[in-house]
Every structure is written in C-alpha cells, then in structure tokens.
C-alpha cells in the first residue's frame, strides 16, 4: 500500500479523532454521571471528570446548630443550604447530597471546632461507589435481577451452543437432501425480531409452565442464536480438515470422543464468538423480558424501569447501567482473542 502524504495523514487522523470523540464523550459523560453526587448533578456546566471530595463551609449558630453552606460553582459563592444540629439529619444530608458516608456524630464533632476557631471549610472524601450501592438499595430487585441476567445468559449460551454447533457440524459434514434449504431457513429465523415472536412465545411458555422463568426467556433468546451459531460454526467446521477426524477414528477414538477431543477444540474460536453473540442477546434484551417476565426480571429490564421511575436521581440509573455494561465488556474482552483468531484466519 502506498504511504499517505501529510495531508491525507492529517485528514485521516482528524476523522479518526472525530469518530473516537463521538463515541467517547457521551460514554465519559455517562460514567461521570454514575459517579456524581446529587449536588454534582445540579452543577452547570457539568464537569467531565467526577469530583473526588466535597467541601462545605460551616458557621456555628446559636444553640447546638450549625449553618451549612455549599458553593455550587455558579460564581455566586457559598449558598446557605440547611441549618441543623441533629446528627441523623446531617448524616442523611451528606449521603444524599454529597455521596459522603460519614457518621452524623463525627460531623458534629468536626463542626464543633468552629465554635472555637470561627467559621471554616471542611473537606470530606466522597464515597465513589455510593450511587452503585444506592442503586441496589433503592431498587430492591436489582440484585436478584443481576443473578437472573447471569442465569438467562448462561442458559442461552448453553442452548444455542449445544443445538447450534450440532446443527453446524451436520451442515458442514454431511450431504443430505434439503441441506441448502436448511442453511437459508436458518437465516430466515434470524430475520424475525424477537419482539415479534414474544407474544406467541408468551402463550406457549404459559402453557409449558415456563412463563416468568429464566429457562423460558432463554428459549426465546436461543431462537435467533441457534441459527447464528450454526452459521458461524458450520463455516469453521468446513474449514477443519476432515482428515483430522478420520485420523482420530483410525487411531482409536469413537465419533463422540473425536468430536470432543479433536473437533471442538479446533472449533473453539467459533464457539467463543457465537457464545458472545448469544450472551449479548440475552444480556441486553429489554423488551422481550418485559413481555415474558413478571417477577423474575432481568437486570436490563430493571435498569430500564429505573430510568423511568427513580425521579430521585438519574445518577443511580447511570450506575445501574454501568453494572449492566461491565459484564458484557469483560466477557467480550476475554474472548476477543478467539474472535480475532476466527476472523484473522488461523491455520487449522
């Protein structure tokens, strides 16, 4: 390939930088929100990186009470927020507003210095994961939903991989009438949006007693993924030289053993890639889960509902979304090298 000249290089870099920014800035903002306290949320302009501590200005007031001031950074200096001497109220205020987890008694003890030294500022370290804890606290079914999401993803991977790779193997290795048609039919299955088949699925699952269960949900997610898995794996199985299997048969392995010892390990990249697709379908789906579950909700559904219902703070929903993104990110990261192998054309 020819080398790029300086103009082309600059244009290329600018284009790439633009594309990166388009993706990164919203994501960064979203992450910042998930780490922001309630007061941070009221700031404008919003900072890109979340603050790590909070500073308040305390003036002693008559009796045992203190007046608390906070600088919103609007240029009008410290604003009076509350006046109180009750430990519980202070503790709650600090938690809710500043994401600071310090006991009320400790706060009162600190503030008592102002009685001797006069009004002064205090800095407290923010509890970085306050929003995440709060997410699970204010949405009581978030924790079981996380568990449900993991279960339904595992089921989906298991079902799609078992049925899909078996089908893929048969398509790759055996010649039979209707083989081409089957191949196309698999693609057609993939064309139906899962939402579209959710309603008849709901009826079927109710009849089978699988409504509102993770297995039932996994069955729905498996429908498009069995097809996809068999597509991906059959192309890999075709690429695996049949003589490798025949050698195993001759040298003493049964068909099943050959499949487990020889074929499967060689097809592993395809398995990894298709299990990622299965995982992502199950993990990210909201709509079908909305239709097919009642009490046993999945995490994405819970996060979706949290955005609509938690008027108390979008930052908790953002934290929930991060919880939702992370496993998908980690899973994709772990198997990325196998996907690279698969599309990178490894010699088999």
């Amino acid at each position: 390939m020819d080398r790029l000249n300086i103009v082309q290089k600059t244009l290329m870099t600018l284009t790439l930088a633009f594309m990166v920014l388009v993706v990164v800035i919203p994501l960064l903002f979203f992450i910042t929100v998930s780490f922001s306290s309630a007061t941070d949320m009221t700031e404008f302009p919003k900072r890109l990186l979340p603050t790590r501590s909070v500073t308040v200005y305390i003036e002693p007031v008559e009796g045992d009470t203190y007046e608390l001031f906070y600088d919103y950074g609007r240029g009008d200096g410290y604003t009076s927020i509350i006046t109180t001497g009750v430990a519980d109220r202070l503790e709650t205020h600090f938690q809710r507003q500043y994401s600071v987890s310090v006991s009320g008694d400790k706060l009162l003890e600190d503030f008592s210095r102002t009685r001797i030294e006069g009004p002064m500022t205090f800095s407290y370290k923010k509890d970085a994961f306050y929003n995440f804890k709060q997410f699970f606290r204010i949405i009581p079914n978030a924790a079981p939903a996380l568990k449900n999401s993991i279960i339904v993803s595992l089921y989906t991977i298991l079902i799609s991989l078992t049925l899909g790779s078996s089908a893929g193997y048969v398509i790759a290795r055996y010649r039979f009438a209707g083989r081409e048609q089957l191949n196309v039919a698999l693609l057609i299955v993939r064309m139906f949006p899962t939402v579209g088949i959710s309603i008849p699925m709901a009826v079927m699952l109710i009849k089978m007693g699988l409504f509102d269960t993770m297995l039932g949900l996994a069955l729905l997610y498996s429908i498009p993924n069995i097809a996809l898995t068999s597509w991906i794996t059959s192309s890999i199985f075709i690429g695996i030289n049949k003589e490798m299997e025949e050698a195993a048969w001759i040298f003493g392995a049964s068909r099943v053993r050959t499949f487990i010892n020889i074929t499967l390990p060689l097809a592993f990249p395809a398995m990894a890639a298709s299990s990622m697709y299965s995982f992502l379908t199950a993990w990210n789906d909201t709509i079908s889960a909305l239709i097919l579950t009642n009490e046993n909700q999945t995490l994405s559904l819970v996060v979706y509902k949290a955005i609509g219902t938690t008027s108390s703070g979008i930052q908790y929903a953002a934290a929930g979304s991060i919880v939702l993104i992370l496993p998908a990110l980690v899973f994709t990261f772990i198997i990325r090298k196998y996907i690279g192998q698969m599309w990178g054309g490894v010699e088999l």
Binding site: M244, A247, A248, S254, N261, L266, E347
Partner: protein, 366 residues
C-alpha cells in the same frame, strides 16, 4: 495364504452412480510394499479408504489374516494411516499427537513415553517432541504423522498420497526414508500415489488402476517393460510410450507392421504372437529410449521411418527429441545426437525386441 485379500470389491457413492471401484480382486502378502498408482479419479484412494474403514463397501469383501474386516470400526481393523494433509492435530504437541492413539488404548504412561520416543527416533523428530505443529515445517509434520502411524504397531500401514504436499526435493528424500522405515519394521504397507517415479522407486509391486479397475499388478520392471495394457504403457514412463496405429501384413513369411509413415518387420517372437492378426490393425507401442536416430545420409540396415525433429528438450545426460513421423508426434530419447538441430530430418531405427503390440478392442498386450 495371503495377508490382505480383496475380493470382488465394488464401490458406488450413490445408488445409481457409476462404479468407482469395479470388481477388484487383489491379494497382498505380509511385509509387502504395495503401491496403488493411477490417474486421479481412478479409485485408488477410495480403495485404501475402504480398507481403512472410512468408506462403506458397496459389494465384495476385504479380509486381513483370513478374517473379514467389513463389520469392524476403523479403530478395530489394526490399520494405521498417513494422510495427504498429514492430519496431525494442531492443538496437540508432537508428543501428544503421537501418544494420543496409545492413550486411547489406556496404556501405562511410562510405556507410552517409551514407545513415543522410540517412534520419534525412527523418524528423527525426537528433539521436537514439545513443539506444536504450527512451529514445524511440512516435512517435519509429515514425520510426526509417520511416527504416529508406526507407534501403534499396525498390521497394515496405509499411506494416502503422503508426499504430495511436500516440495520436490523433500519428496525424494522422504520417500527414501519411508522405504527405509518399511524395511526396518517390515510392516505390510499400501501406498497411494499418482506419481509414477514414487511408485517405481518404492514398490515391491505396483497396482495400476484406471477407472476403478486394476490394469496391471506387477513389479516396477514388469509394469514398465511388459505393460499389460495400452493404458499402462501410456501411463508409465516419462516421456510415455509412443503409439502407432499399424496394419499387420505378411511378406516373405514375415509379418510387417505399416501405417502412419512407419514400417517395421517384426521380430521372430512377435511374428508368432501376431500370427492371428494378419490384415488387422493394432496399436504398436515403442518407448522413447528404444528409438534411435541416424543422419539421413548415414547407413542404416533397417530403417523404421524418416522423422522431422520439431523440438529438442535437453536433459543434460540425454535429450528428448520431439519429432513428427508421418501423422504421429513421437518422442525419441537420444544421448548420441544431443546437438542435433531442430527442423532437420533424420532416419529412425528401432530396437525390435522392445516393441509392444496392443489389441485395438481389448487394449490388452498381444
């Protein structure tokens, strides 16, 4: 009694399809090195795969030591195989590759190690046991496949074009090694190839196949000098046999073959053999090295034909002359007139005893 026996073996891939292997009969003795030779699609690989149990048999029987193996799984037939693609497993190390068949037999670990090392020594890869196939050259991979095949002490050693993926130089040295290993171990071996020089140099007996049928079974010298059919004569030898369509006529109690610009009075032996072909047309085959040339003005007692030289292919030790005799293009091997000019005319003579005749209809040797 023969070791491996093939009786009336038939093979069709589809019920209405053509016979890939057609009524094949063959018996092989213990310790023989047999080569199946033929053009692609002649059924040689199919036959070896039927012996291995990788293809179903349509009709007939295969026995090893008098026992039919048709109902046995590949693993129970006591055969081992080397594949064209090597078929060594890329996710196993060399050691694991060779040890896998033994592991399946649930052999003791120390015993496995001993046998693997011994097998690796035979093919000189004992220093590569920890490597993965991807870190090895084609020749080394092939050696792994050979080690894996010999480690199980098979009754029969099957090789399906094992050298065709190697480069030319390696192919020659590897075939010497294969023959050497065979001589050391004495295992009955069947080798499939379409390369006649491989077949000639390796085989005790060559089985030449064409369109699912055996054309000839014989030693390398037999198939070369006593080719049983026109096909064999044309297939074996580089360059192949020259064919002339000739008519047999009688003159002075001697038979003369004429046609296409050539004339040859037959040797005494051939006269007897061809006595019933008087007035008939037959195919006459003469190998390039049994044709000789002299200049047009040279003295020649029995001129066979006059030829015009079209091209000269130099081979160093000899030259192949591509010449036109009448309507035939023939190849002549010469070491005496290597600097002859193209487009020149020469007289051609023939080594009479080395001429073969083939029946027009049956293509069999007369």
């Amino acid at each position: 009694m023969s070791y491996l026996e093939i009786k009336e073996l038939d093979k069709k891939y589809t019920a209405k399809g053509p016979l890939i292997v057609d009524k094949m009969n063959l018996s092989i003795d213990q310790g023989e090195f047999i080569v199946f030779l033929g053009p692609s699609g002649c059924g040689k690989t199919t036959t070896i795969r039927m012996i291995a149990g990788l293809e179903e048999v349509t009709g007939g029987d295969i026995t090893i030591e008098g026992e039919s193996i048709l109902d046995k799984l590949p693993k129970d037939r006591g055969v081992s195989m080397i594949f064209q693609s090597y078929a060594i497993w890329p996710h196993f190390t060399v050691f694991e590759n060779i040890a896998y068949p033994l592991k399946l037999q649930k052999i003791d670990k120390n015993e496995i190690r001993k046998r693997v090392e011994k097998a690796a020594q035979v093919t000189q890869i004992d220093n590569l046991l920890d490597r993965y196939p991807s870190q090895m050259s084609g020749g080394q991979r092939q050696r792994v496949a050979v080690s894996r095949a010999i480690v199980v002490n098979p009754k029969i050693f099957l090789m399906d074009e094992p050298l065709s993926n190697l480069d030319a130089k390696l192919r020659v040295s590897m075939r010497t090694d294969l023959r050497d290993i065979h001589d050391k171990l004495g295992t009955t071996s069947i080798f499939v190839t379409h390369d006649q020089s491989e077949a000639m140099s390796l085989a005790d007996r060559i089985i030449i196949m064409n369109r699912g049928r055996i054309e000839q079974i014989g030693t390398p010298v037999e198939v070369y000098q006593q080719s049983a059919t026109k096909f064999v004569a044309g297939f074996i030898g580089t360059p192949p046999t020259n064919f002339f369509e000739v008519t047999i006529t009688e003159a002075d109690k001697k038979l003369i073959a004429t046609g296409g610009g050539v004339q040859l009075s037959l040797s005494k032996k051939d006269t007897e053999r061809l006595s019933s072909y008087k007035g008939k047309t037959v195919d006459m085959g003469i190998r390039p090295e049994y044709l000789g040339i002299v200049p047009l003005d040279g003295h020649l007692e029995n001129s066979f034909a006059t030829a015009r030289i079209d091209f000269i292919e130099q081979q160093g030790s000899h030259a192949i002359l591509i010449a036109t005799i009448g309507t035939n293009t023939v190849k002549i091997e010469t070491s005496d007139f290597m600097n002859i000019k193209a487009k020149s005319e020469v007289q051609v003579f023939v080594k009479k005893e080395m001429v073969s005749f083939f029946d027009k209809e049956t293509t069999l040797r007369i």
